[in-house]
Amino acid sequence: MFIYKPREIFLQSLQTLSICTYLLVIVGGAVLLFHPLVLLALLLPLVLALAAAGGLAQWRKSLKYFLIMIFLSMIINITVNKMGATVLWLGPVLPFFGRFIITLESLFFGLVMGCRLLIVFSAFILYNLVLNPDRALFAFAKIFPRSAMLVALTAKTIPYLGQQMQRAAEIQQCRGINYYRGNLANRINNRLPLIKVLFLSALEDSFNLGESIQARAYGSGSRSCYFRSSPRPRDYFVLSASLGAALLLLWLLLKGEGSFQFFPRMRVLILSGGQVAAMVYICLLLLVPVLLSWGWSKWDYLKWKI
Protein backbone atom coordinates (compact mmCIF):
# COMPACT_ATOMS: atom_id res chain seq x y z
CA MET A 1 0.00 0.00 0.00
CA PHE A 2 2.98 2.33 0.45
CA ILE A 3 3.83 4.52 -2.52
CA TYR A 4 7.39 3.22 -2.12
CA LYS A 5 7.91 -0.11 -3.88
CA PRO A 6 11.24 -1.91 -3.31
CA ARG A 7 13.11 -2.53 -6.56
CA GLU A 8 16.62 -3.39 -7.61
CA ILE A 9 17.69 0.18 -8.45
CA PHE A 10 20.71 2.24 -7.47
CA LEU A 11 18.88 5.18 -5.90
CA GLN A 12 16.97 2.86 -3.54
CA SER A 13 20.23 1.29 -2.40
CA LEU A 14 21.51 4.59 -1.00
CA GLN A 15 21.47 5.41 2.71
CA THR A 16 18.75 7.72 4.08
CA LEU A 17 21.27 10.48 4.81
CA SER A 18 22.71 10.49 1.28
CA ILE A 19 19.39 10.55 -0.56
CA CYS A 20 17.88 13.08 1.86
CA THR A 21 20.88 15.41 1.48
CA TYR A 22 20.63 15.15 -2.32
CA LEU A 23 16.92 16.03 -2.30
CA LEU A 24 17.35 18.72 0.35
CA VAL A 25 19.99 20.49 -1.78
CA ILE A 26 17.64 20.49 -4.79
CA VAL A 27 14.59 21.68 -2.81
CA GLY A 28 16.67 24.21 -0.81
CA GLY A 29 18.21 25.54 -4.03
CA ALA A 30 14.79 25.94 -5.64
CA VAL A 31 13.35 27.68 -2.56
CA LEU A 32 16.27 30.08 -1.95
CA LEU A 33 17.39 30.93 -5.48
CA PHE A 34 15.23 31.87 -8.43
CA HIS A 35 17.61 32.58 -11.22
CA PRO A 36 16.02 30.84 -14.24
CA LEU A 37 19.31 29.18 -15.24
CA VAL A 38 19.98 27.91 -11.69
CA LEU A 39 16.48 26.41 -11.70
CA LEU A 40 17.22 24.70 -15.01
CA ALA A 41 20.49 23.38 -13.53
CA LEU A 42 18.40 21.84 -10.73
CA LEU A 43 15.52 20.60 -12.88
CA LEU A 44 17.58 18.76 -15.50
CA PRO A 45 19.39 16.34 -13.08
CA LEU A 46 16.15 15.89 -11.15
CA VAL A 47 14.22 14.75 -14.22
CA LEU A 48 17.08 12.42 -15.17
CA ALA A 49 17.17 11.05 -11.61
CA LEU A 50 13.42 10.40 -11.88
CA ALA A 51 14.08 8.51 -15.13
CA ALA A 52 16.87 6.54 -13.40
CA ALA A 53 14.42 5.63 -10.62
CA GLY A 54 11.89 4.47 -13.22
CA GLY A 55 9.49 7.17 -12.11
CA LEU A 56 8.97 9.12 -15.33
CA ALA A 57 5.55 7.54 -15.97
CA GLN A 58 4.38 8.43 -12.46
CA TRP A 59 5.89 11.90 -12.80
CA ARG A 60 3.95 12.49 -16.03
CA LYS A 61 0.77 11.20 -14.35
CA SER A 62 1.21 13.50 -11.34
CA LEU A 63 2.20 16.35 -13.61
CA LYS A 64 -1.44 16.71 -14.79
CA TYR A 65 -2.51 17.71 -11.25
CA PHE A 66 0.62 19.73 -10.53
CA LEU A 67 0.31 21.67 -13.80
CA ILE A 68 -3.12 22.89 -12.64
CA MET A 69 -1.54 24.17 -9.40
CA ILE A 70 1.36 25.69 -11.31
CA PHE A 71 -1.04 27.39 -13.73
CA LEU A 72 -3.15 28.76 -10.85
CA SER A 73 -0.13 30.18 -9.05
CA MET A 74 0.99 31.78 -12.31
CA ILE A 75 -2.45 33.40 -12.60
CA ILE A 76 -2.18 34.76 -9.02
CA ASN A 77 1.26 36.21 -9.75
CA ILE A 78 0.04 37.86 -12.93
CA THR A 79 -3.12 39.20 -11.22
CA VAL A 80 -1.56 40.69 -8.10
CA ASN A 81 1.80 41.77 -9.47
CA LYS A 82 1.69 45.19 -11.08
CA MET A 83 5.38 46.00 -10.75
CA GLY A 84 6.42 45.24 -14.33
CA ALA A 85 7.17 48.09 -16.73
CA THR A 86 6.43 46.41 -20.10
CA VAL A 87 2.63 46.37 -20.28
CA LEU A 88 1.24 43.73 -22.63
CA TRP A 89 -2.47 44.07 -21.87
CA LEU A 90 -4.59 46.50 -19.87
CA GLY A 91 -7.57 44.53 -18.64
CA PRO A 92 -10.77 45.46 -16.81
CA VAL A 93 -10.90 46.83 -13.25
CA LEU A 94 -11.51 43.94 -10.85
CA PRO A 95 -13.22 44.50 -7.49
CA PHE A 96 -10.67 44.58 -4.60
CA PHE A 97 -7.69 43.73 -6.88
CA GLY A 98 -7.83 46.87 -9.02
CA ARG A 99 -6.96 46.96 -12.73
CA PHE A 100 -5.94 43.66 -14.29
CA ILE A 101 -2.62 44.31 -16.00
CA ILE A 102 -0.47 41.74 -17.74
CA THR A 103 3.17 42.76 -17.98
CA LEU A 104 5.99 40.91 -19.66
CA GLU A 105 7.90 40.84 -16.35
CA SER A 106 5.01 39.38 -14.31
CA LEU A 107 4.41 36.79 -17.04
CA PHE A 108 8.05 35.71 -16.94
CA PHE A 109 8.05 35.80 -13.12
CA GLY A 110 4.95 33.55 -13.11
CA LEU A 111 6.73 31.09 -15.42
CA VAL A 112 9.84 31.02 -13.20
CA MET A 113 7.70 30.48 -10.07
CA GLY A 114 5.93 27.64 -11.91
CA CYS A 115 9.35 26.11 -12.61
CA ARG A 116 10.26 26.34 -8.89
CA LEU A 117 6.99 24.69 -7.95
CA LEU A 118 7.67 21.94 -10.51
CA ILE A 119 11.13 21.30 -9.00
CA VAL A 120 9.73 21.05 -5.45
CA PHE A 121 6.92 18.69 -6.52
CA SER A 122 9.25 16.55 -8.66
CA ALA A 123 11.76 16.27 -5.79
CA PHE A 124 9.02 14.89 -3.55
CA ILE A 125 7.92 12.42 -6.24
CA LEU A 126 11.52 11.17 -6.31
CA TYR A 127 11.55 11.08 -2.48
CA ASN A 128 8.41 8.90 -2.45
CA LEU A 129 9.93 6.57 -5.05
CA VAL A 130 13.39 6.02 -3.63
CA LEU A 131 13.31 6.52 0.14
CA ASN A 132 12.36 3.38 2.04
CA PRO A 133 10.02 4.52 4.88
CA ASP A 134 11.37 1.73 7.14
CA ARG A 135 14.95 2.90 6.71
CA ALA A 136 13.91 6.54 7.20
CA LEU A 137 12.11 5.52 10.38
CA PHE A 138 15.18 3.63 11.54
CA ALA A 139 17.27 6.80 11.20
CA PHE A 140 14.53 8.89 12.85
CA ALA A 141 14.25 6.44 15.80
CA LYS A 142 17.75 7.31 16.99
CA ILE A 143 16.56 10.77 18.06
CA PHE A 144 12.82 10.16 18.59
CA PRO A 145 12.39 6.51 19.68
CA ARG A 146 8.86 6.84 21.10
CA SER A 147 7.61 8.90 18.18
CA ALA A 148 9.14 6.40 15.73
CA MET A 149 7.28 3.64 17.56
CA LEU A 150 4.06 5.67 17.18
CA VAL A 151 4.69 6.14 13.43
CA ALA A 152 5.40 2.41 13.02
CA LEU A 153 2.24 1.46 14.94
CA THR A 154 0.08 3.90 12.99
CA ALA A 155 1.54 2.89 9.62
CA LYS A 156 0.92 -0.78 10.45
CA THR A 157 -2.65 -0.10 11.63
CA ILE A 158 -3.84 1.82 8.54
CA PRO A 159 -3.72 -1.13 6.05
CA TYR A 160 -4.96 -3.51 8.76
CA LEU A 161 -8.02 -1.33 9.39
CA GLY A 162 -8.56 -1.00 5.65
CA GLN A 163 -8.67 -4.80 5.36
CA GLN A 164 -11.01 -5.07 8.36
CA MET A 165 -13.35 -2.52 6.79
CA GLN A 166 -13.33 -4.40 3.48
CA ARG A 167 -14.03 -7.71 5.23
CA ALA A 168 -16.92 -6.30 7.28
CA ALA A 169 -18.37 -4.65 4.16
CA GLU A 170 -18.25 -7.96 2.25
CA ILE A 171 -20.06 -9.74 5.10
CA GLN A 172 -22.76 -7.06 5.13
CA GLN A 173 -23.07 -7.30 1.34
CA CYS A 174 -23.71 -11.04 1.68
CA ARG A 175 -26.59 -10.09 3.97
CA GLY A 176 -28.06 -7.95 1.17
CA ILE A 177 -26.86 -4.45 2.07
CA ASN A 178 -25.78 -2.52 -0.98
CA TYR A 179 -23.26 0.28 -0.50
CA TYR A 180 -23.19 1.37 -4.12
CA ARG A 181 -26.89 1.89 -4.91
CA GLY A 182 -29.45 4.44 -3.82
CA ASN A 183 -29.00 8.13 -3.15
CA LEU A 184 -26.09 9.60 -1.20
CA ALA A 185 -28.01 9.69 2.11
CA ASN A 186 -28.87 5.98 1.76
CA ARG A 187 -25.28 5.06 1.00
CA ILE A 188 -24.03 7.03 4.00
CA ASN A 189 -26.73 5.49 6.22
CA ASN A 190 -25.71 2.00 5.10
CA ARG A 191 -22.05 2.70 5.80
CA LEU A 192 -22.50 4.30 9.25
CA PRO A 193 -22.98 1.05 11.24
CA LEU A 194 -19.93 -0.33 9.46
CA ILE A 195 -17.80 2.64 10.52
CA LYS A 196 -19.11 2.34 14.09
CA VAL A 197 -18.14 -1.34 14.24
CA LEU A 198 -14.72 -0.54 12.80
CA PHE A 199 -14.16 2.14 15.45
CA LEU A 200 -15.26 -0.13 18.29
CA SER A 201 -13.16 -3.09 17.22
CA ALA A 202 -10.11 -0.90 16.42
CA LEU A 203 -10.20 0.80 19.83
CA GLU A 204 -10.73 -2.52 21.57
CA ASP A 205 -7.78 -3.97 19.63
CA SER A 206 -5.64 -0.99 20.61
CA PHE A 207 -5.88 -2.02 24.28
CA ASN A 208 -4.79 -5.55 23.39
CA LEU A 209 -1.96 -4.06 21.36
CA GLY A 210 -0.88 -1.91 24.33
CA GLU A 211 -0.88 -4.93 26.61
CA SER A 212 1.08 -6.91 24.06
CA ILE A 213 3.69 -4.13 23.84
CA GLN A 214 3.94 -4.08 27.63
CA ALA A 215 4.23 -7.88 27.78
CA ARG A 216 7.19 -7.63 25.41
CA ALA A 217 8.85 -5.34 27.98
CA TYR A 218 8.77 -2.22 25.80
CA GLY A 219 10.82 0.58 27.34
CA SER A 220 12.61 -1.65 29.85
CA GLY A 221 15.97 -1.33 28.10
CA SER A 222 17.60 0.14 25.06
CA ARG A 223 15.99 -0.33 21.62
CA SER A 224 16.52 -3.64 19.85
CA CYS A 225 18.45 -3.37 16.61
CA TYR A 226 17.94 -6.14 14.08
CA PHE A 227 20.02 -4.83 11.22
CA ARG A 228 22.90 -2.43 10.81
CA SER A 229 23.63 -0.58 7.65
CA SER A 230 26.94 1.12 7.13
CA PRO A 231 27.67 3.67 4.42
CA ARG A 232 29.22 2.36 1.22
CA PRO A 233 31.37 4.22 -1.35
CA ARG A 234 28.23 5.13 -3.35
CA ASP A 235 26.92 7.04 -0.30
CA TYR A 236 30.17 9.00 0.01
CA PHE A 237 30.05 9.87 -3.72
CA VAL A 238 26.44 11.10 -3.59
CA LEU A 239 26.95 12.91 -0.28
CA SER A 240 30.11 14.71 -1.47
CA ALA A 241 28.51 15.70 -4.79
CA SER A 242 25.41 17.02 -2.99
CA LEU A 243 27.49 18.99 -0.47
CA GLY A 244 29.62 20.38 -3.33
CA ALA A 245 26.46 21.54 -5.12
CA ALA A 246 25.18 23.02 -1.84
CA LEU A 247 28.40 25.03 -1.41
CA LEU A 248 28.16 26.37 -4.96
CA LEU A 249 24.51 27.33 -4.42
CA LEU A 250 25.51 29.10 -1.20
CA TRP A 251 28.29 30.92 -3.06
CA LEU A 252 25.80 32.11 -5.68
CA LEU A 253 23.38 33.19 -2.95
CA LEU A 254 26.02 35.17 -1.03
CA LYS A 255 27.33 36.77 -4.21
CA GLY A 256 23.81 37.79 -5.17
CA GLU A 257 24.10 35.98 -8.50
CA GLY A 258 21.58 33.29 -7.63
CA SER A 259 18.71 35.74 -7.87
CA PHE A 260 17.38 37.55 -10.87
CA GLN A 261 15.93 41.03 -11.13
CA PHE A 262 12.43 40.77 -12.60
CA PHE A 263 10.99 44.18 -11.70
CA PRO A 264 10.52 46.84 -12.91
CA ARG A 265 12.51 45.59 -15.90
CA MET A 266 14.37 42.30 -16.28
CA ARG A 267 18.13 42.61 -16.14
CA VAL A 268 20.58 40.55 -18.20
CA LEU A 269 20.45 36.82 -17.51
CA ILE A 270 24.19 36.22 -17.17
CA LEU A 271 26.29 38.50 -14.98
CA SER A 272 29.70 36.82 -15.04
CA GLY A 273 31.64 33.82 -16.27
CA GLY A 274 31.92 32.57 -12.68
CA GLN A 275 28.14 32.50 -12.44
CA VAL A 276 27.83 30.30 -15.56
CA ALA A 277 30.64 28.01 -14.37
CA ALA A 278 28.94 27.61 -10.97
CA MET A 279 25.64 26.68 -12.63
CA VAL A 280 27.34 24.12 -14.91
CA TYR A 281 29.17 22.59 -11.93
CA ILE A 282 25.95 22.45 -9.88
CA CYS A 283 24.27 20.59 -12.74
CA LEU A 284 27.21 18.19 -13.14
CA LEU A 285 27.47 17.50 -9.41
CA LEU A 286 23.76 16.78 -9.17
CA LEU A 287 24.12 14.43 -12.14
CA VAL A 288 26.56 12.22 -10.14
CA PRO A 289 23.82 9.91 -8.73
CA VAL A 290 22.27 9.64 -12.22
CA LEU A 291 25.62 8.67 -13.79
CA LEU A 292 26.36 6.22 -10.98
CA SER A 293 22.90 4.73 -11.40
CA TRP A 294 23.54 4.26 -15.13
CA GLY A 295 26.95 2.69 -14.46
CA TRP A 296 25.45 0.51 -11.71
CA SER A 297 22.94 -1.01 -14.11
CA LYS A 298 25.39 -1.42 -17.02
CA TRP A 299 28.71 -2.33 -15.42
CA ASP A 300 28.86 -5.20 -12.91
CA TYR A 301 32.36 -4.30 -11.75
CA LEU A 302 31.24 -0.79 -10.75
CA LYS A 303 28.16 -2.26 -9.06
CA TRP A 304 30.38 -4.55 -7.01
CA LYS A 305 32.95 -1.82 -6.30
CA ILE A 306 30.55 0.87 -5.02
Partner: protein
Protein backbone atom coordinates in the same frame (compact mmCIF):
# COMPACT_ATOMS: atom_id res chain seq x y z
CA UNK B 1 14.84 42.09 -5.64
CA UNK B 2 12.43 39.29 -4.70
CA UNK B 3 12.98 38.08 -1.11
CA UNK B 4 12.80 34.34 -0.59
CA UNK B 5 14.01 34.18 3.02
CA UNK B 6 10.50 34.23 4.54
CA UNK B 7 9.73 30.90 2.95
CA UNK B 8 12.79 29.32 4.55
CA UNK B 9 12.12 30.95 7.95
CA UNK B 10 8.50 29.79 7.96
CA UNK B 11 9.52 26.23 7.10
CA UNK B 12 12.21 26.24 9.80
CA UNK B 13 9.72 27.55 12.39
CA UNK B 14 7.16 24.89 11.38
CA UNK B 15 9.68 22.04 11.56
CA UNK B 16 11.15 23.36 14.84
CA UNK B 17 7.63 23.61 16.30
CA UNK B 18 6.78 20.01 15.40
CA UNK B 19 10.24 18.81 16.51
CA UNK B 20 10.04 20.50 19.92
CA UNK B 21 6.58 19.08 20.53
CA UNK B 22 7.81 15.55 19.76
CA UNK B 23 10.90 16.09 21.94
CA UNK B 24 8.58 17.06 24.79
CA UNK B 25 6.55 13.91 24.11
CA UNK B 26 9.74 11.80 24.22
CA UNK B 27 10.68 13.20 27.62
CA UNK B 28 7.17 13.05 29.06
CA UNK B 29 6.84 9.34 28.40
CA UNK B 30 3.56 7.47 28.05
CA UNK B 31 2.19 4.05 28.83
CA UNK B 32 2.09 1.42 26.02
CA UNK B 33 -1.73 1.45 26.24
CA UNK B 34 -1.83 5.19 25.66
CA UNK B 35 0.62 4.86 22.76
CA UNK B 36 -1.43 2.10 21.14
CA UNK B 37 -4.63 4.12 21.54
CA UNK B 38 -3.07 7.25 20.02
CA UNK B 39 -1.66 5.19 17.14
CA UNK B 40 -5.08 3.60 16.49
CA UNK B 41 -6.85 6.97 16.59
CA UNK B 42 -4.25 8.44 14.24
CA UNK B 43 -4.66 5.42 11.94
CA UNK B 44 -8.46 5.86 11.94
CA UNK B 45 -8.06 9.57 11.20
CA UNK B 46 -5.50 8.85 8.48
CA UNK B 47 -7.55 6.02 6.99
CA UNK B 48 -10.60 8.27 6.73
CA UNK B 49 -8.64 10.38 4.21
CA UNK B 50 -8.16 7.54 1.77
CA UNK B 51 -11.78 6.84 0.64
CA UNK B 52 -12.42 10.58 0.31
CA UNK B 53 -9.15 11.37 -1.51
CA UNK B 54 -11.14 11.51 -4.78
CA UNK B 55 -13.40 14.29 -3.44
CA UNK B 56 -11.19 17.39 -3.16
CA UNK B 57 -11.68 19.10 0.17
CA UNK B 58 -13.82 16.49 1.92
CA UNK B 59 -11.65 15.16 4.77
CA UNK B 60 -13.20 13.59 7.88
CA UNK B 61 -9.71 13.69 9.43
CA UNK B 62 -10.20 17.25 10.73
CA UNK B 63 -13.41 16.35 12.55
CA UNK B 64 -11.91 13.15 14.00
CA UNK B 65 -8.84 14.99 15.26
CA UNK B 66 -10.97 17.76 16.75
CA UNK B 67 -13.10 15.21 18.64
CA UNK B 68 -9.97 13.29 19.80
CA UNK B 69 -8.55 16.52 21.21
CA UNK B 70 -11.92 17.32 22.81
CA UNK B 71 -12.08 13.98 24.62
CA UNK B 72 -8.42 13.20 25.38
CA UNK B 73 -6.95 16.71 25.71
CA UNK B 74 -4.75 19.09 23.73
CA UNK B 75 -1.48 17.11 23.70
CA UNK B 76 -2.99 13.77 22.52
CA UNK B 77 -5.05 15.83 20.06
CA UNK B 78 -1.88 17.30 18.54
CA UNK B 79 -0.25 13.87 18.43
CA UNK B 80 -3.23 12.25 16.69
CA UNK B 81 -3.52 15.09 14.16
CA UNK B 82 0.15 15.33 13.25
CA UNK B 83 0.64 11.56 13.19
CA UNK B 84 -2.45 11.08 10.98
CA UNK B 85 -1.04 13.59 8.47
CA UNK B 86 2.43 12.06 8.38
CA UNK B 87 1.43 8.40 8.18
CA UNK B 88 -1.44 8.83 5.71
CA UNK B 89 1.02 10.62 3.42
CA UNK B 90 3.10 7.42 3.37
CA UNK B 91 0.20 6.03 1.32
CA UNK B 92 -0.92 9.19 -0.49
CA UNK B 93 2.52 10.76 -1.03
CA UNK B 94 4.71 13.05 1.06
CA UNK B 95 5.19 16.57 -0.22
CA UNK B 96 5.98 20.13 0.83
CA UNK B 97 2.49 20.11 2.32
CA UNK B 98 3.33 17.42 4.94
CA UNK B 99 4.75 19.68 7.75
CA UNK B 100 1.90 22.15 7.23
CA UNK B 101 -0.72 19.40 7.34
CA UNK B 102 0.93 18.08 10.53
CA UNK B 103 0.72 21.56 12.07
CA UNK B 104 -2.82 22.26 10.85
CA UNK B 105 -4.30 18.96 12.04
CA UNK B 106 -2.20 19.08 15.20
CA UNK B 107 -3.58 22.53 16.02
CA UNK B 108 -7.12 21.31 15.28
CA UNK B 109 -6.53 18.69 18.00
CA UNK B 110 -5.20 21.36 20.38
CA UNK B 111 -8.28 23.47 19.64
CA UNK B 112 -10.56 20.52 20.46
CA UNK B 113 -8.58 20.03 23.67
CA UNK B 114 -9.14 23.64 24.71
CA UNK B 115 -12.91 23.32 24.13
CA UNK B 116 -12.90 20.10 26.18
CA UNK B 117 -11.10 21.93 28.98
CA UNK B 118 -13.64 24.76 28.85
CA UNK B 119 -16.51 22.25 29.00
CA UNK B 120 -15.05 20.67 32.12
CA UNK B 121 -14.99 24.08 33.82
CA UNK B 122 -18.58 24.87 32.84
CA UNK B 123 -21.51 24.03 35.07
CA UNK B 124 -25.24 23.87 34.48
CA UNK B 125 -27.77 22.35 32.08
CA UNK B 126 -26.63 24.04 28.89
CA UNK B 127 -23.10 22.55 29.18
CA UNK B 128 -23.64 19.72 26.63
CA UNK B 129 -25.63 21.91 24.24
CA UNK B 130 -23.10 24.78 24.25
CA UNK B 131 -20.10 22.52 23.71
CA UNK B 132 -21.88 20.66 20.87
CA UNK B 133 -22.70 23.82 18.92
CA UNK B 134 -19.29 25.23 19.74
CA UNK B 135 -17.74 22.09 18.26
CA UNK B 136 -19.92 22.31 15.12
CA UNK B 137 -18.94 25.95 14.52
CA UNK B 138 -15.30 25.23 15.30
CA UNK B 139 -15.28 22.28 12.90
CA UNK B 140 -16.76 24.56 10.22
CA UNK B 141 -14.13 27.24 10.92
CA UNK B 142 -11.31 24.69 10.81
CA UNK B 143 -12.19 23.91 7.20
CA UNK B 144 -11.06 27.44 6.34
CA UNK B 145 -8.22 27.67 8.90
CA UNK B 146 -6.77 24.43 7.50
CA UNK B 147 -6.80 25.93 3.99
CA UNK B 148 -5.26 29.18 5.27
CA UNK B 149 -2.38 27.30 6.96
CA UNK B 150 -1.71 25.11 3.92
CA UNK B 151 -1.76 28.08 1.56
CA UNK B 152 0.61 30.06 3.77
CA UNK B 153 3.86 28.44 2.62
CA UNK B 154 2.74 28.42 -1.00
CA UNK B 155 2.07 32.16 -0.73
CA UNK B 156 5.43 32.86 0.95
CA UNK B 157 7.40 30.77 -1.56
CA UNK B 158 5.77 31.16 -4.94
CA UNK B 159 3.82 34.44 -4.88
CA UNK B 160 5.19 37.97 -5.10
CA UNK B 161 4.65 40.62 -3.74
CA UNK B 162 3.77 39.38 -0.25
CA UNK B 163 0.75 41.58 0.43
CA UNK B 164 -2.72 41.08 1.86
CA UNK B 165 -4.12 41.20 -1.69
CA UNK B 166 -1.84 38.41 -2.89
CA UNK B 167 -2.61 36.27 0.19
CA UNK B 168 -6.35 36.71 -0.32
CA UNK B 169 -5.94 35.82 -4.00
CA UNK B 170 -4.11 32.63 -2.95
CA UNK B 171 -6.93 31.80 -0.51
CA UNK B 172 -9.52 32.54 -3.19
CA UNK B 173 -8.08 29.83 -5.44
CA UNK B 174 -8.81 27.12 -2.87
CA UNK B 175 -11.99 28.64 -1.44
CA UNK B 176 -14.31 25.97 -2.94
CA UNK B 177 -12.26 23.11 -1.55
CA UNK B 178 -12.09 24.84 1.84
CA UNK B 179 -15.86 25.43 1.79
CA UNK B 180 -16.49 21.71 1.04
CA UNK B 181 -14.07 20.85 3.86
CA UNK B 182 -15.83 23.23 6.30
CA UNK B 183 -19.36 22.05 5.49
CA UNK B 184 -18.24 18.40 5.60
CA UNK B 185 -16.64 18.93 9.03
CA UNK B 186 -19.74 20.63 10.44
CA UNK B 187 -22.04 17.85 9.12
CA UNK B 188 -19.76 15.11 10.47
CA UNK B 189 -19.77 16.70 13.96
CA UNK B 190 -23.51 17.31 13.81
CA UNK B 191 -24.50 13.78 12.80
CA UNK B 192 -21.73 11.52 14.07
CA UNK B 193 -19.96 13.69 16.65
CA UNK B 194 -22.18 12.95 19.67
CA UNK B 195 -21.89 9.19 19.29
CA UNK B 196 -18.13 9.36 18.70
CA UNK B 197 -17.63 11.49 21.81
CA UNK B 198 -19.55 8.93 23.91
CA UNK B 199 -17.48 6.09 22.47
CA UNK B 200 -14.14 7.81 23.02
CA UNK B 201 -15.10 8.94 26.52
CA UNK B 202 -15.81 5.31 27.41
CA UNK B 203 -12.33 4.31 26.21
CA UNK B 204 -10.77 7.27 28.02
CA UNK B 205 -12.35 6.04 31.27
CA UNK B 206 -10.88 2.61 30.62
CA UNK B 207 -7.44 4.20 30.33
CA UNK B 208 -7.83 5.60 33.83
CA UNK B 209 -7.01 2.97 36.42
CA UNK B 210 -8.76 3.68 39.71
CA UNK B 211 -7.89 1.81 42.87
CA UNK B 212 -10.55 1.04 45.43
CA UNK B 213 -10.14 2.93 48.71
CA UNK B 214 -8.15 0.81 51.14
CA UNK B 215 -8.95 1.03 54.83
CA UNK B 216 -5.91 0.53 57.01
CA UNK B 217 -5.99 -1.00 60.47
CA UNK B 218 -5.81 2.42 62.10
CA UNK B 219 -9.03 3.44 60.29
CA UNK B 220 -7.28 5.75 57.78
CA UNK B 221 -8.71 5.53 54.20
CA UNK B 222 -6.22 5.70 51.32
CA UNK B 223 -7.37 6.58 47.77
CA UNK B 224 -5.42 5.62 44.62
CA UNK B 225 -5.94 6.96 41.14
CA UNK B 226 -3.60 7.03 38.25
CA UNK B 227 -3.58 7.13 34.48
CA UNK B 228 -2.27 3.98 32.87
Amino acid sequence: MVDSQWSLYSLLIAVAGIGSFYLWYERRGSSPREMALIATLAALAGLSRLPFAAVPGLQPTTFLVLICGYVFGAAPGFLVGSMAAFTSNLFLGQGPWTPWQMIAWGLAGVCGGLIGLRKEKMNGKGKEMVSRWLLVSLAFLWGFIFGAILNFWHWLTFIYPLTLHSYLATLLISIWFDAVHAVGNALFVLFVGGELIKLLTRFKRRLTVSGLPVERLNGEVVHHEKNG
